[in-house]
Symmetry: C2
């Protein structure tokens, strides 16, 4: 607390101009004469002056802060999202205020209120659902929201997702085509739209291929629960075990692979094919070498930012729902092991 804060008034005094001149100098899009600009610059440099963003926000009504709500970073899809989103927004002069939420809905409510307290210009909701009532309140406050990697019934909410249904379908067809006949599914958290859509697409794909789901269990997007689900699914006698598993995301797929290989001594893809969803970095590490659906974080983030910024800049068009295509990435965990 040694130094006093230096304000635009201090600069103005030193430069021999008015405070407004200083303000104008630091506000892009306004003009000052070359002469005063130089005086102000010199004075500002000497004092180490920088405008107070908070005070500015108070009067402009724009904080240049984006609230990001995220429930867990354990799934390595999200750190990547946080990093790229921050970077992109930084480039555009915004910054990210992080709010970690639990999965519980009432927590989300509380958290969102806290976010609004900071007068954020926009909100990215990355791993939590939000009540329609809350969404309405945000909308009423004029704060745009973009759902990231999830959908909600509320038609008023913008959302960016990848094509979870299409991805699920591709995986089903891939497994069927490579000769799998007892295909199981390990679900994520049932409340998540990604879970629902992936499962739905997967079932549709199986249907197309003339198959039905052989078995199903739930892993709730957690490593340990996915391990447990795998143990249950493979507790049956050998002939009645699945010969393929679609695990709802890569993070859980790693857990399943570890159980199959190191607890049950099964080979992948020899005995069982495993496929996931997301294409997080470890999926391409040789230890896992996991067939999966690539969601382009870059594209998703870019769309999110575009949607958010256009809404912030006054675009009152109705909610924008972007669904980006995913790509099937075939790797070693699902090579055809049992040709028909």
């Amino acid at each position: 607390m040694v130094s006093e804060k230096v304000t635009s008034n201090d600069v103005a005094r030193l430069a021999g101009v008015s405070q407004s001149a200083v303000s104008r100098f630091f506000t892009p899009g306004t003009s000052v004469s070359k002469r005063t600009a130089e005086k102000i610059k010199a004075a500002a440099d000497e004092l180490g002056y920088r405008p107070n963003v908070l005070a500015r926000s108070l009067i402009t009504g724009k904080s240049r802060i984006i609230g990001l709500v995220v429930a867990y970073l354990e799934n390595y899809f999200y750190p990547d999202v946080v990093e790229r989103l921050s970077r992109l927004l930084q480039d555009k002069g915004y910054h990210v205020l992080v709010f970690i939420s639990s999965l519980a809905a009432d927590k989300v409510e509380e958290i969102t209120q806290e976010i609004l307290d900071y007068q954020v210009d926009g909100i990215v909701l990355a791993s939590a659902n939000m009540s329609s009532e809350l969404a309405a309140r945000c909308h009423a406050s004029g704060v745009p929201i973009v759902l990231f990697n999830r959908l909600q019934d509320d038609e008023k909410l913008s959302a960016v997702t990848s094509d979870n249904r299409g991805g699920g379908r591709m995986l089903a067809l891939h497994l069927a085509e490579t000769g799998r006949r007892r295909i199981a599914y390990i679900a994520g958290f049932e409340g998540a739209s990604t879970q629902r859509d992936r499962e739905r697409g997967f079932r549709e794909g199986l249907d197309e291929a003339g198959q039905a789901l052989f078995a199903r269990d739930v892993g709730n997007f957690r490593y340990e629960e996915a391990q447990a689900a795998a143990r249950r699914l493979f507790a049956a006698p050998e002939a009645e075990r699945p010969d393929a598993v679609f695990v709802c995301n890569d993070h859980m797929a790693f857990a399943v692979m570890d159980v199959l290989r190191f607890e049950l001594n099964l080979t992948i893809p020899g005995d069982v094919a495993v496929v996931g969803f997301d294409d997080v970095p470890p999926a391409r590490w040789p230890s896992y070498n996991l067939t999966t659906i690539r969601q382009s974080v870059d594209d998703m983030v870019a769309e999110t930012v575009a949607t958010l910024l256009s809404a912030i800049e006054g675009d009152v068009s109705p909610a924008r729902r972007v669904c980006l295509p995913g790509a099937l990435v075939v790797r070693g965990s699902s090579q055809p092991a049992k040709p028909i």
Copy 2:
């Protein structure tokens, strides 16, 4: 932009009291009579009023925002840090503004300026170094800084680290005790204190055990570069290859293990022992089952927050350097394979 913002004045008018009364009602530690409290509460609820944190900051000089500078979330140690740090600070009424920095020092400078623009109450510097000059400026602004998981020469900076030197030593002794005789090291980014301290402790440990470092290469904390380093280290004829590698962090250790197993067909720990540092979640996944030093993220975060908050609350004591002990976690990647 449908609704107008509701201010303390609106509430005051509706409740039939003064604006100061409303302010007092929402400021902890001040008192209002029960009667007016009720009127204000009713009015505030009706209007959906919540205090504007930014306006409050302007006058109190406290924003309750903590700036977090982090360079990359690719190493899964950091997502965990972000999550726990955010959670803990949230509980204390603070929030985290994230700044992603590149490793370049000038970027850090720029970023830190941006942080200061937001009038943050404190800064956590998690994966980037900062010039002493910049540190001085922050100090002058009265903004406390805590270095997380790194150290700097500047004695004025508080820092929280785990005992990197001691951890390196433990790993060296462990490898020597389990019979390894050609022990190599793959370094992280040379500019990082964690890299320096871990290597130093490791060399000291080898020395104690009467050994010298057999080979050394650099992986710069990146997966791909660590792969390349592993390839170089093991390009020698079989008898001249290392029989153990300490990789400066787990993230790179995974890359090394993948190269050894899947490119060179070596067994771990049979042909080569691999040990890492951090104990990130994948280290205990059976595929890697990596011997490593556990850094307790929880403890580190707790110390960081404690240091930061005490400084914010006016503690002018000199910089506080906390060094937390790490624990050797012996797993399958280093079991004694060649008993003496």
